[in-house]
């Protein structure tokens, strides 16, 4: 079985929006989106000891994304396909889902996995757009995933409790961050990660027209950045052994005790 895990590199530190471009500042060190580690872990568990199965990471981003994805290779993923093209910078959901779906179509996976959200844009919708473009069934927010007889079955939480949804393969599944505890890469895994196949493709390799991605292919825009509405003063203290006392003092002061 071939499992594709859609992963994203996000800035590790100093998350800010560049006031000039009004895009997220991606100059910082890139790291694997922590929510994607759950999807990688789930893929590795589904693969298990099956030597005939393969876990492929598929990502869209600048060339340095590869550095961040090395962690997922060290965890045990088999290879990377990075769709990287300057024309794709600034892609919104419409453009990103289009390019990513094209990358996935090239791989023809049995199962496409996504993490719960991107921790930079807080987006938690990409899988549904990709599933529609691939014309495949979708199960999202999955906290328990089982695979049997060519079908996936997912238990997921909604506003009303837990649903159980089943879909035949090939399918698209987005997992919740509660589904597993991602493994730490072993030393051997880390050493071996660099040597695993890491392929970079450009948009034309996938037959993606430049006007379908980037700003040209996007349908949303950002007008202005503003300060959040003011809220009451927040106080932050480091516990030096008197943290509990300080909480009690604070509660008495605010007449909350």
């Amino acid at each position: 079985m071939k499992i594709a895990v859609c992963v994203k590199a996000v800035p590790e530190q100093a998350r800010r929006i560049d006031p000039g471009t009004k895009r997220l500042d991606r100059s910082g060190e890139p790291t694997l989106n922590p929510f994607d580690a759950n999807a990688v872990e789930e893929a590795l568990q589904l693969k298990g000891d099956d030597g005939g199965s393969e876990v492929v990471l598929v990502s869209l981003g600048p060339a340095r994304t590869l550095e961040a994805l090395r962690k997922a290779l060290a965890m045990g993923a088999d290879r990377v396909v990075l769709v990287s093209d300057d024309a794709a910078a600034g892609s919104d959901l419409v453009a990103t889902s289009y390019a990513l779906a094209k990358g996935l179509e090239r791989e023809q996976p049995d199962l496409v996995l996504f993490g719960q959200q991107a921790n930079d844009s807080d987006g938690a919708v990409l899988w549904a757009a990709v599933a529609d473009r691939l014309r495949r069934p979708l199960i999202s927010q999955v906290a328990e995933l089982t695979l049997a007889d060519g079908s996936v079955r997912g238990k997921r939480q909604t506003e009303f409790g837990y649903d159980v949804i089943q879909a035949p393969l090939p399918a698209v599944v987005a997992v919740s961050d509660a589904i597993n505890e991602p493994r730490y890469p072993s030393l051997k895994g880390i050493m071996g990660a660099k040597k695993k196949p890491q392929e970079t493709v450009v948009l034309s390799d996938l037959g993606v027209e430049a006007e379908r991605v980037g700003e040209a292919g996007s349908r949303t825009e950002v007008y202005a950045l503003n300060d959040p509405p003011p809220r009451g003063e927040t106080v932050r203290i480091e516990d030096d052994g008197t943290g509990a006392e300080k909480v009690v003092e604070f509660l008495l002061e605010r007449k909350a005790l």
Binding site: R15, R236, F250
Partner: protein, 327 residues
């Protein structure tokens, strides 16, 4: 502007947040239509008229009974294309997030999510979206129609119901794509009635993944007992099976607004924040100084909860004993 509001429903009731979005659309002075999709939902759909909908579209089909997103994308795509709506608005839920994103791909229509306000500026629809843990508010827009928007949970209160309304009613033809009906509901969620009620609690002590394991919920329970409050939990720990769903606060759980909310080992992601931001006083204890919860806790303590919480329980118990000495 002609706007379509997707109105979700559950257990024979129109969802409150959907009606809130409907009210906002009406307030913006739009020509507002709604779509109610489901099985045997005609009578329910008609209620939307009383909340200001001028046109009610009803997609009634057994294939729409389970709250699954892909068949709803099919229905919406057809309706939006035929009627040429300029905007399609959704109150964000687990279901509608998938519906809106699927529709975005199907129609190549821009989607802005997590909006906390909508406005018209120079005849253009502008959304307000908090970003980076709500530290920046971004004005966002669309470069083409239809404009799709997901509105954050609890943003707009539903309007007051007025009479029965005079909406025009249309039945929508339901024809679904093959792949849209492949996912099937094996077991559908029902309202969980078991477990403690946290919605009316004056004081809530909530535990998150920072507790490290289900056994450490005892720390939270003891503090809650000392404070005379109820125990709550985050989605992450409920999903992990550490605590019952009935006690969950956040986007897919309960919305609470107690006098005092103590967050223990909770990072405070937005999905949690929307369920408790109305609390009067918020205290957070977390070892990660970068946890988003410190952006909105009235008092944040950066430190080891295993040290701080038992000590805090002890101090509160001592205070209680001093106030109510045993005779």
């Amino acid at each position: 502007m002609s706007t379509l509001v997707f109105v979700e429903h559950h257990d024979g009731e129109l969802q409150k947040d959907s009606l809130g979005v409907l009210g906002k659309a009406v307030q913006l002075g739009d020509e507002v239509s709604v779509l109610v999709a489901g099985s045997d939902v005609e009578q329910l759909a008609l209620q939307a008229g009383a909340f200001g909908a001028q046109h009610i579209y009803i997609a009634d089909d057994p294939a729409l009974e389970a709250p699954l997103p892909q068949p709803r994308v099919d229905v919406l795509a057809k309706l939006v294309q035929e009627e040429g709506f300029e905007a399609v608005l959704f109150a964000a839920t687990v279901l509608t997030a998938d519906v809106a994103a699927g529709l975005s791909a199907r129609l190549d229509a821009g989607l802005n999510w997590d909006l906390v306000d909508l406005d018209q500026q120079d005849g253009k629809l502008v959304g307000k979206r908090p970003a980076l843990d709500d530290t920046v508010y971004v004005d966002v827009g669309w470069t083409s129609e239809p404009r799709l928007a997901l509105i954050r949970t609890g943003t707009f209160d539903p309007p007051t119901k007025e009479g029965t309304g005079q909406a025009q009613i249309s039945k929508v033809d339901v024809s679904l794509e093959d792949f849209s009906t492949q996912a099937t509901m094996i077991e559908q969620a029902h309202e969980e009635s078991e477990g403690p009620s946290i919605e009316d609690a004056e004081v809530i002590v909530a535990g998150g993944r920072g507790l490290g394991g289900p056994e450490n919920f005892a720390l939270v329970e003891e503090l809650a007992k000392a404070l005379g409050g109820a125990v709550a939990a985050t989605r992450a720990v409920v999903d992990a099976g550490w605590y019952p769903y009935a006690a969950q606060v956040g986007q897919t759980g309960k919305t609470v607004a107690p006098r005092l909310y103590v967050a223990v080992g909770i990072s405070g992601a937005i999905q949690h924040k929307v369920g408790m931001q109305g609390s009067n006083v918020i205290v957070a204890i977390n070892k990660d100084p970068n946890a988003p919860i410190f952006e909105y806790a009235d008092l944040g303590v950066v430190g080891d909860l295993h040290e701080i919480v038992p000590k805090l329980t002890e101090l509160v118990n001592a205070k209680n004993a001093a106030h109510f000495p045993r005779s």
